[in-house]
Symmetry: C2
Subunit: 150 residues, 2 copies
DNA sequence: TTAATATAGATGCAACTGCATATATCCATA
DNA sequence: TATGGATATATGCAGTTGCATCTATATTAA
């Protein structure tokens, strides 16, 4: 039994409230951010994560399975997300010579530009929907607590 | 600009880490719980919320728009979720005489039994995936911080 | 070598979601 | 009391997800 529980195997009210709070907070903030993206005529937030991993990576490229590990996307979802990104010209698929099962996913100039454009909106959203609600110390505390669930 | 931000409109690292932590924690815990449900041969977690609201409600029944308000489900998603619950015999749609646009959604005995069965698994999951990770005080602190985002 | 197994990535299909709109009814007011 | 607008719920459609499986290639071990 966990550190925090009643005798009968029922989670304590605090645990329950933390869980409900986690679900609702994530849903609300995510919905608010997605709405801001939509208003700005931007693609869904999920695209950002992939583009950002590629920008951070050496040579602006990664293997699909590497993106998968960094983003928590399921393999089949990532494969199709890459389809969409490629259709919009934001990434290219290139051959990976050392293993012909593999591919490089390479970010294009358009992809880099899009990521920056998305960040403008994203940064403002984070400020508005999260930053405004916490002091610096509280934000650190929240991040620390959440990291225990990762 | 928020309480917590740098000059240039970029969210502070603490805010960014809180946000990433929020997304990842929710995804991971939700995925773990859904997996537990699936292993136990149970329907998706989303069903639980509706059944639970109905159990708590007077007479075991609510109007769809009341469920909507209590669960954050979108109207069209709820309408279809009720279809599925009804198909499984867990709820019934009944007429609402005072306003014939409306309906009652009534939980059945099977619905009550299913909710209890789901709770067995749910409670253990919450213990394992959240309760084990926090002291009582920490859980309260986390819930309090998350409630600011609601 | 070859056969068995594992890994990288893609894809058909059914279920679910979001969006827009439909349908039915109610309410306010001219 | 007719009409314009609001509210409650449902639904067609296109896009997305999850699941299972496929193809292609790599690795291991006999």
């Amino acid at each position: 039994m966990g550190k925090t529980s009643l005798q009968n195997g029922t989670p304590s009210p605090a645990i329950t409230r933390a869980w409900i709070g986690l679900m609702r907070a994530q849903q609300r903030v995510l919905a608010a951010i997605e709405k801001d993206f939509k208003s700005a005529g931007l693609p869904p937030l999920g695209w950002y994560d992939v583009l950002w991993e590629l920008v951070k990576a050496d040579g602006g490229r990664l293997r699909p399975f590497e993106i998968e590990a960094r983003t928590l996307l399921a393999q089949y979802n990532l494969s199709r997300l890459i389809d969409r990104l490629e259709r919009e010209g934001l990434v290219r698929r290139e051959t990976f010579d050392a293993d012909s099962r593999g591919r490089w996913i390479v970010i294009t100039e358009e992809g880099r530009a899009m990521r920056e454009r998305m960040w403008q909106t994203y940064a403002r959203s984070l400020e508005r929907h999260i930053g405004d609600k916490f002091s610096e110390a509280e934000a650190r505390e929240l991040a620390a607590l959440l990291s225990r669930l990762a």
